[in-house]
């Protein structure tokens, strides 16, 4: 697998951004066919006077097809409640589907696994483990000897710019630093794909932008496929090779937008006319879908 970082001491994330992207790896192709996802069906979810009642399942995704190329950075963008997070969870194996197939490199996704990395919006680091132990956790579960996994953990901690915090507990880190540790923890397993569910949404604007740059720098070095959910248009355009805009619920792909900007992308990209034009197009699509969603809901209410 080509998703291994070179061991280079003294590199930090800022420097990593200037390194030329790795050659396209052969792993990390996602193929989704005719996908359907329903949530919350069955008895017992709703309670009426202590009696369980049948609750209709909510169909969040219907008839969705998509393909992600190996090593590609893809953003899922859509109105709130469109099922983008559900789609991501299903692709990462966290959520069972009601129809269709999800394949990564030709293998059906049936459940979560280390080869499908996941980064949530809120940290899921083990609070009782140090940063280093958290990052090394996947290797420990795989039975890697302590010495080797410590060395690997230190490399990945350096990669995300957390050197000096190896012995800290997650509670001693800021939100942005916790997310760095999350990224390192997912990457150490050399995953085929990293799925990220609005990982920077809880961060302040300045930190969020730093994290976006850091993520691009890291991605340029490891070359893993990234599928990134966001509702922030700027974020999607700044990060992605392609943006998958979803329809309102039940979600499917509305449009696939290729982002033409060369990498590494400069910080002032967001003010260029080309960027603004692309942003307007995304905004129009999102507004249209949001209105359609509202209209659908109103019909449902009356």
């Amino acid at each position: 697998m080509s998703a291994r970082i070179e061991r280079r001491r003294g590199d930090d994330a800022g420097a990593a951004a200037s390194i030329t992207p790795a050659s396209p790896p052969e792993t990390g192709r996602i193929v989704v066919r005719d996908l359907g996802i329903s949530l919350g069906g069955g008895r017992g979810r709703g309670q009426a006077r202590g009696r369980s009642v049948a609750v209709p399942a909510v169909e969040v995704v219907r008839g969705l097809d998509l393909e992600v190329e190996p090593g590609e950075f893809v953003c899922l963008l859509g109105p709130s409640g469109c099922g983008k997070s559900s789609l991501l969870s299903a692709m990462a194996g966290f959520l069972s589907t009601s129809a269709g197939t999800i394949e990564v490199d030709g293998r059906r996704v049936t459940g979560p696994e280390p080869e499908l990395g996941m980064v949530f919006q809120q940290t899921s680091l083990l609070p009782w483990r140090s940063v280093e132990e958290n990052v090394a956790f996947g290797l420990k579960m795989r039975g890697t000897p302590a010495q080797a996994r410590r060395a690997a953990a230190r490399d990945f901690i350096a990669l995300v710019g957390l050197r000096g915090f190896e012995r800290h507990f997650p509670a001693q880190l800021s939100g942005g630093m916790q997310q760095r540790a999350e990224i390192a923890r997912a990457l150490i397993n050399q995953p085929r794909v990293i799925f990220m569910d609005e990982p920077f949404a809880a961060l302040d604007a300045q930190t969020r932008f730093m994290m976006q740059e850091l993520l691009l720098g890291v991605w340029a070095r490891v070359g893993t496929t990234v599928v990134f959910v966001t509702h922030d248009i700027d974020e999607a355009i700044f990060l992605a090779d392609r943006i998958f805009v979803m329809t309102s619920r039940p979600g499917r792909l509305r449009e696939v937008i290729r982002v033409p900007f060369a990498r590494p992308r400069p910080a002032d990209l967001t003010t260029t006319p080309a960027f603004v034009g692309l942003k307007r197009r995304c905004l129009d699509l999102l507004r249209e879908e949001t209105l359609r969603g509202l209209a659908g809901r109103q019909r449902f209410v009356t």
Binding site: M118, F120, S124, P127, W128, K140, F169
Partner: protein, 287 residues
């Protein structure tokens, strides 16, 4: 005499220092607050001295037969000097820690399973729900019948007293685990035993520590009662025997010893708990 290996004192010293740091961290109090607390104790002793030396009688409560603190102090000094004390204390401590340790092992193991696995919950919950409302002391008559050795019956009663606080808090801790942390760990490859060891047990640990410190209290409570009824040695037995022999100051001495050892063992549990969950304080919480 038993032969103690040379390594023992060194190891014990290390353990004591380790626990000591936990005590320090758990009870960092400034001087004014310490003074206030000392004053409160002193005032209570003064009122007590006054009430018993004046044979205060208020119809509903009567201090005529209550020994004064000075008499109690004398009796305490006499007991400390006598060889009986060691025997009583050793008996009680052995019973408490045997019952408590068994309850900790059973309660934590069962609690982890019941909290995590549906099948285990279905298997054990009905039995536990039936037994839970029965207080430990209610087991005394049956325990005497069940165990030929009165020593074992007292350990059993202590065990029953400590079991449910530990068990229920463990279950509570497992059920309160952050689902994202569990899901994330599973995705990173933590399964079955590794999942329990790496995620579920440490995640439930703060709640388990709470259960252990409550369990230590109930263990002492049950033990003292059991000793009053079926004991031959022990601090509870000493207290009850003093009543029967009309050595009234000794009753209070027994009570104070019970309080003292109860307090020390709870502090010990708390200190060990604080040492085992260093991350918990960082999150701004105390177990």
């Amino acid at each position: 005499m038993t032969v103690v290996p040379d390594a023992f004192p060194a190891a014990a010293g290390r353990v004591a220092r380790w626990v000591g740091r936990g005590v320090q961290a758990a009870s960092a109090i400034d001087r004014t607050r310490l003074l206030t607390r000392a004053l409160s104790l002193g005032a209570a002793a003064l009122i007590w001295q006054w009430a018993s030396s004046h044979h205060l009688s208020l119809r509903v409560i009567d201090f005529r037969n209550v020994p004064a603190p000075t008499e109690v102090a004398g009796a305490a000094a006499a007991l400390v000097a006598s060889p009986k004390l060691g025997h009583h204390v050793r008996s009680s401590l052995f019973r408490v820690f045997a019952g408590f340790a068994a309850a900790a092992v059973v309660g934590i193991a069962l609690g982890l399973l019941v909290g995590r696995l549906k099948r285990a919950a279905d298997l054990f919950s009905p039995l536990l729900e039936v037994m839970r409302p029965i207080p430990g002391v209610a087991w005394i008559p049956l325990a005497i019948l069940m165990f030929p050795s009165s020593e074992l019956s007292m350990v059993f009663i202590t065990f029953m007293g400590a079991l449910f606080p530990i068990l229920l808090n463990t279950v509570h801790g497992v059920e309160g685990l952050d689902r994202r942390v569990v899901a994330g760990s599973r995705a990173l490859g933590a399964r079955s035993v590794a999942l329990f060891r790496e995620v579920i047990l440490p995640g439930a640990l703060p709640s388990i520590v709470t259960g252990l410190s409550i369990g230590m209290g109930t263990a002492w409570f049950c033990l003292v009662t059991a000793e009053m009824i079926s004991g031959q040695y022990g601090i509870g037995y000493y207290t009850w025997e003093s009543y029967n022999l009309q050595r009234y100051p000794d009753i209070v001495v027994g009570m104070l010893f019970i309080g003292f050892f109860g307090m020390v063992s709870s502090a010990l549990v708390k200190a060990i708990g604080a040492r085992l969950t260093p991350w918990y304080r960082l999150e701004g919480r105390t177990p």
